[in-house]
Amino acid sequence: MYDIIIIGGGPGGYIAAERAGARGQKVLLIEKEHLGGVCLNWGCVPTKTLLNSAKTYAHALHGGMFGVHAEKVTFSLTEAMAWKNEVITKLRGGIAFLMKKFKVEVVSATAEIVDKNTVKTSDGKTWQGKNIIIATGSTPAMPPIPGAKDNPHVVTSTGLLDIKTMPTSLVVIGGGVIGVEFASLFATLGVKVTVVEMMEEIIPFMDKEHAPQMRKALSNIDFQLGCKVEKLDGGTVHYTRASASADGAKSVKGDLVLMAVGRSLNTKNLGLEKLGVDVGPRGIVVDEFQRTNIPGVFAIGDVTGKSLLAHSASRMGEVAVSAIVDPPESRQRMRYTAIPWVVYTNPEAAGVGMTEDEAKKAGKNVVCSTVPLRNSGRFLAENGASAPGAVKVVTDGDTHRILGVQMYGAGVGEMIWGAAAMIETELRVNEAREIVFPHPTVGETIRDALWEMH
């Protein structure tokens, strides 16, 4: 009898396993493919590795303004992919080591829940546990667009991370995070990239002032916004502009077409219906302790539909473990108000808390302050005077609380956590102003924006 059986070894499941193991729990982790899940194997990590190759390539090409001139700069997809695979393998090994360290037993199989204390794996074995944590994640969604099925030109993010030859052109269907990240990656490598997005703006949760600035900064991508994809014909994507009917039908052709219209949650074939787990239209329904309606059965990560981010999944895993091992009065809770997000494009975008629009909708007396990143000496030195980037701090003019921080520009993904800490601790402007930032850093622009407030 295990204390906890975890289904899914992604950033939710393996962190939960590690935390539970560290608390002396007897843990079984069931993973159908590779430890680290989508994040490590087909998501966050490989894309960032390839993006780094792309950025290094771009730096080599454009180092002239810093006095660095390189000739015959080339990009080798094969070597970049090999480095990506090496990174993944190393990190997988790291997780395996952690599982061993915390005495977590790992089984490589798919799993089905038989009852609330029993899990059956595809190798025919049956496992007993006092608690079950469902951490099965999500997979790329395939919308029923005519001509998409069995089309050799069409790939998902998973397929695109495993290509053997560079495309000369890429059409990305979907202007959300995944679509824009891949678009930026390939555009930086010189591929002709078109993004076709149904909404009028990319990355829906971004600040409404920052999003157009981001598009401008991603000038190597052709954005077709407000466009509905009607059908695919080989590599040709036919779409219509919804707003201007006169514009009529258009099409764009790519060697590859990336389908990036969202992700579907892995709630099937788990035995959830039989167990009676409450699965809503947006995932497995959980409370702030990650409990489902079935006592002893928890769900974390994408499969809850609450926040499809690796770090949200990890945190949910910790919360679920706390719910299992801690006494009721010291159980941790899942909070979503200070979860930062990063879009890994070139340049990056990041944010935490409310945007200006959200704060206004919430009825706040919103006071904002925006500072361009080039105010930072380090940013200017490393990126040049015309490099895009800004930090925007959203506050409540009545209580002076910091409600949100949004930013875009090179490297902002590395400094958003500081803003998250301010929001999580409910700092007010005057208090946050007292925090000392190292100089010169790009992060100082957060401090500048706070001091710009009236």
Binding site: D278, G280, R282, G283, V285, V286, D287, E288, G305, K306, E329, S330, R333, R335, Y336, T337, T399, R401, E424, T425, E426, L427, R428, E431
Partner: protein, 457 residues
């Protein structure tokens, strides 16, 4: 040898007291009159004096312990002095000889205070005065001292109240403290933020008015479910009430009869008392007093109602001792008007007021609070129309007094509305049957209906 301080006997009916709070710690120097502890019976609270001079060598019981009277609670002597044999073990059954300083039959310190009221009374208008020390401490921690329940003299908020309030709540973010001050509310005891910190959302949800908006789904808003809650340990008097109520309902067969008595004369009489010459001292006689008087005079004719059921016996009492349920800041208390059948209406009225005041201020003596043969619970002032009073075991009956409301009465071919007072009588059907109980209730209704005549008896 060291001197032994025992749990003093608080009246004859008290078997044990809850040690609510130690005022001293081991190693402290105490004088004869030093208050060393606050203790509480199920009825009232008291301070315990040291009775000796010296160093506190050992505190035998922890706060919250229920200690039998005359058992040692502490030892005082010279520093380093040996304790009496057998003193080391906590609450040894074999008690050392009671010390002469706390004689068995002399109730100890008459300084009965509200000091031991651990459960804070929610200050209605948040206007209790606070001592400067309390105010400074509260302000430094972002608390509003005037919103606290004061346990100092005359309900004054003193430092320990602030400390108790601080100890009772989780750490809060600065913004949450500001929000609580702005809204004029107390910080919730538990938070949902980092490490259990109280957040702004916790403060606002703890005060949020019920919304008529559609119920948010489990996946919907960020509103916590089930939301912040506070925990109060059920202890001391509340614990006694809880146990008594559960015992009452689980060991008896409760059965309630509802009736109403014409209240025309009752209201007239009350109005005349109110308008009477102040020199007579009758102005304060209430409707409730008159009903208590009627009960005291009626019970004698129905001795099976003025009784206790203990194990397999029923004890019918010749004299009438009336328990009067009384709402106090600490919860329900039932002081007893002894020999009510011999008292005049004015005496009953005066005694009721004295006992109620003593209960509310915590100065009731234990013997004021025991020995009732029948109880009365009056909730008429709150407009209750009928209810099921819970027996004050081992009594076999309790009368609930409801509000006065006009009731249609047929007069010839006409209907007139006459004021009537509702009466809800609960009996223990194990020993009293419905019909005899109904007879008593009918007799009581008649007595109340003709209360002016009854007075002449």
């Amino acid at each position: 040898m060291a001197d032994t301080i025992v749990m003093p006997r608080q009246g004859n009916s008290v078997e044990s007291c809850v040690l609510v709070k130690w005022r001293v710690k081991e190693g402290d120097e105490v004088q004869n009159k030093t208050i060393i502890a606050d203790v509480e019976t199920d009825k009232a609270s008291f301070e315990v004096e040291a009775g000796f001079t010296g160093t506190v060598l050992k505190l035998v019981h922890a706060e919250g312990d229920d200690v039998p009277v005359m058992q040692p609670i502490a030892y005082v002597g010279k520093a380093g002095e040996a304790l009496p044999a057998g003193a080391a073990a906590m609450a040894t059954p074999a008690a050392p000889a009671p010390s002469t300083a706390a004689p068995a039959d002399v109730p100890a310190a008459p300084a009965i205070t509200m000091a031991a009221m651990a459960a804070p009374v929610s200050a209605a208008a948040g206007s209790s005065p606070a001592s400067p020390r309390a105010r400074i401490l509260a302000a430094s921690q972002g608390l509003d001292a005037t919103g606290l329940a004061g346990t100092g003299p005359e309900g004054r908020v003193i430092e320990r109240d602030v400390k108790a309030a601080l100890g009772a709540s989780a750490p809060a973010t600065a913004a949450a403290i500001e929000e609580a001050l702005r809204l004029g509310v107390k910080l919730p005891a538990q938070g949902s933020g980092l490490g259990g910190r109280v957040t702004v959302a916790d403060v606002s949800t703890s005060t949020a008015a019920p919304s008529s908006a559609p119920v948010a789904g489990a996946t919907g808003t960020s509103r916590a479910f089930p939301g912040p809650k506070t925990e109060t340990k059920i202890k001391s008097i509340r614990k006694v009430i809880a146990d008594r109520m559960a015992e009452s309902l689980s060991t008896t067969a409760q059965f309630t009869l509802n009736a109403s008595a014409l209240a025309v004369r009752l209201q007239e009489l009350r109005a005349r008392f109110k308008a009477s010459d102040a020199a007579l001292g009758l102005n304060g006689i209430t409707i409730g007093d008159i009903i208590v008087y009627a009960v005291s005079r009626t019970l004698g004719r129905y001795p099976y109602m003025n009784a206790h059921k203990v194990a397999d016996s029923v004890f019918e009492f010749e004299y009438v001792h009336l328990g009067i349920a009384c709402d106090t800041p600490r919860g329900l208390m039932v002081p007893v008007i002894r020999n009510a059948d011999t008292l005049t209406l004015k005496q009953i009225s005066d005694e009721t007021k004295r006992l109620a005041e003593a209960c509310r201020s915590g100065t009731a003596k234990p013997d004021d609070l025991s020995g009732s043969t029948f109880s009365i619970s009056n909730v008429g002032a709150f407009g209750v129309e009928s209810f099921t009073p819970v027996l004050n075991v081992p009594e076999v009956a309790i009368l609930g007094v409801c509000g006065i409301a006009p009731k249609p009465v047929q007069k010839g071919n006409d209907v007139v509305f006459l004021p009537s007072v509702g009466l809800s009588l609960t009996i223990n059907h194990m020993v009293v049957d419905g019909a005899p109980a109904a007879k008593f209730l009918k007799g009581l209704c008649d007595a109340i209906g003709e209360c002016d005549i009854l007075l002449a008896k």
